[in-house]
């Protein structure tokens, strides 16, 4: 089937999509956007988190067809004009990235949190990111990064 959807601000037509494919598969394998990650493909790890009409979702649990006529934003769409978003800068500079496989999903989840709650408490950060598994960092530097990103956004 053909799917027309807006991804990172641009309208795309994607052909030959098999109806059983997830949005994650379509992004990664048919649209050249492998930034969203395939760590569990059952909605447990959050690595595939993208915005769908502004709501963070696990793209592995969304059928590709559900994206028809809707707006998708992936990790590839967070930076603007080559300038990293403060959340991306903070993850990089705080050492929140090791292997980095969880990073794209965490960035979208943290981006969403800071859009809703500009100055979150630690408990709010932990609750908001509880659906994103990281195996490398023990999460301490991820917390540092989100706190730092909140400060950067406040100063911007």
């Amino acid at each position: 089937m053909r799917i027309t959807t807006t991804v990172n601000g641009a309208v795309h037509e994607v052909d030959d999509v098999w109806p059983g494919e997830s949005l994650l598969y379509m992004l990664r394998e048919r649209m050249g956007l492998p930034g969203s990650k395939n760590a569990c493909e059952q909605g447990e790890c959050g690595s595939c988190t993208v915005y769908l009409d502004g709501e963070p979702v696990c793209s592995c649990l969304v059928a590709a067809g559900q994206a028809i006529g809707r707006e998708v934003t992936t990790v590839e769409g967070l930076a603007t004009e080559g300038q990293l978003h403060p959340v991306q800068e903070a993850f990089l500079e705080c050492g929140a990235v090791q292997c980095g496989f969880c990073t794209p999903g965490l960035l979208v989840a943290a981006h969403d949190l800071l859009a809703r709650v500009p100055d979150p408490s630690d408990l709010e950060i932990r609750e908001a990111l509880a659906g994103n598994l990281c195996r490398c960092t023990g999460y301490e530097k991820i917390l540092d990064a989100v706190r730092s990103a909140a400060r950067r956004q406040a100063e911007a």
Binding site: G32, E44, L92, V97, C99, E127
Partner: protein, 765 residues
Amino acid sequence: MSTEAGTRTTTTTQPSGRVGDSPLRPDGTLKVTGEFAYASDLWHDDMVWGVTLRSPHPHARIRGIDIAEALTVPGVIAVLTADDVPGENAVGLEHADQPVLASEFVRYEGEPVALVAADHPETARRAAQRIHVEYEVLPAVTDPRRAMDDDAPAVHQPGNLVRHLTLRRGDPDATAPVVVSLDFEVGMQDQAFLGPESGLAVPAEDGGVDLYVATQWLHVDQRQMCLALGMPKELVRLHLAGVGGAFGGREDLSVHVHASMLALRTGRPVKMSYGREESFFGHVHRHPAWMTYEFGAERDGTLVYARARTVLDGGAYASSTAAVVGNAGTLGLGPYRIPNVAVDAYGVFTNNPPCGAMRGFGCVQAAYAHEALMDELAEAVGLDPVAIRQLNGMREGDTNITGQVIDSAAPVAELLQIVRDMPMPPPADTSDIRSRPGAVGNTTHGEGVVRGVGYAVTYKNVGFSEGFDDYSTARVRLEMTGGEAVATVHTAAAEVGQGLITVEQQICRTELGVERVVVHPKNTAVGSGGSTSASRQTYVTGGAVKAACEAVRAVVLERAALSLGRPANELRLDGGKIVGSSGEVLVGLGEVLGEDAVEETVEYRHRPTHAIDPETGQGDAHVQFAFSAHRAVVDVDVELGLVKVVALDTAQDVGKAINPDAVVGQIQGGSAQGMGLALMEEIVVTDGHVRNPSFTDYLIPTILDMPPMQVKVLEYADPHAPYGVRGVGEPPTISSGPAVAAAVRAAAGKPLRRVPIRPEHITGT
């Protein structure tokens, strides 16, 4: 995207940093923009997808395989079985005992039986279900404690014993006035790296294959692939693709031979990428362990003797079980002075999932037993948990249980004192639901919450032991590019997320005095970098990079000495210039190098280790030891069995922190994995079947589970190691879990002799 993206050269040098600084990782920007190419992201024109058909039985004889129906599925390009393996149908990390594809027998649930290539992964998966395998189900050995019985079915001939390590020191029959003992059981832990096993095999015009793959050791993969493919290494070229974590789970082969077989057969690039469920069957796990320990001590708590018997379930194939037994035996009594010792450690074959390397490697299991027993001894002699450990803790110059002298820092007492003296977390705050045990489950209002504190300490060998020729190769080139001095460092040592590429750059900057360092893509075009495991890469590959830099520097300074008419030993490289002994600039590097590139390739070896005596276990088995201690503070809802870890504080001696921020990152992440085993992580295996191969049912710590961590890093240089470094990655995974278990025991008032500790163990229901 192209395959080249998978091993993209990293050239970022901002901000710069030398040894002891904490520059940012050169792949970091690509990782936060989503552009970093992991193995599962690779793509190639004309690419097809490979999948694996796996055994549903823990033990069965294969009567026949009928692939005819699968071949009729539209989109299917090839279906391969054991008959199609071009070379030896046997691979294995230490012993080639595992078929590439099962032929006569399957020995564990999930063993690969057949391969399918198709134009869509779902097509390939559906076609695989149309391969008809006729199995004759056989009795399975699933209890490792029975695997050595005379009447147990043999998983392999001649029997089910992989290794029995015997260690005797002093008087093995010594007696003591105070005796404590226990049995302890450790469940099967999974590495649970997030990036699934993946690779892209590209057939080459010369008849060979280029494999882009996520792994921990390209050259040990290459050796096994050459045998299985029946091809010389010139035709089997490996390239490291982006690796999404490893933790030991990528030491054994996964997609390597399978993808290459399909690529060579079809003449098309073949991508294989496991889903999470397949990943649980596609790599080895941490050995479950059954341990019986006894300590004898004087009335003041001084250890007189220790006896231990450990059985490790190796599962169906050898993998690295023998080496894990080596650690569980030689290091199995912890960092303590013990004059009289009798240890027997066994690794056995069963029809359970194969077990092998995972961070901590045999020391993790043992630490649960010796640390729980140390707490028992403390109580028996009336000491507190820190005091008993400080009393018996190793010091520099002591001899360990294999007779090896600890010839650099062994700060056991100091590490414990540091964690004891760290500020305690505030009392339990149950006012916010998210801070209670059970967190947002809204299960309690905190009425039954009890706080507990626990301590643990460990030491771990760094690098490969027992006489293994453990070396790394580095090639370093220095040249002028666009008017700037540029160093290029090429090793095959796998970057798996830990930050080795950052360290390689830091060493080059330090030794060559240049800002810009290019990390060459990692591949088999340079000699082996050894394994990214055993906490060894900063030490061994770092040592190789340092030595290669020194060789390059010697050539450059010799040239400069000739042209300047000054002795080379009065010259240094700094800021892309040749400077004199007082720092005065003498000449630019460009004037010395001209159009030339100076390149040197060096193999670096650490001090040799030695095999242990087969009867007494005595010998200098290890090259270096790394020490860490943890203090855990937990709140336990003793009515519901729920645990919240409130603090997990640690101190560790790292010798020299090459990159202090990355060191802390390793310690925090390693501590989280240790905590996971203590409280939640277990692959549940029933009658040889894995019951929870998913992140729904195999739980790893989330950000809600992890407490804040206070980390204190000590730097007592090891004079035998480059820059004085000591391995970092593993100790935190060893001492964290036993500290958490001790804290839960203290809160719950129950012995709790098994991990992971489950709610029903705490409530006794």
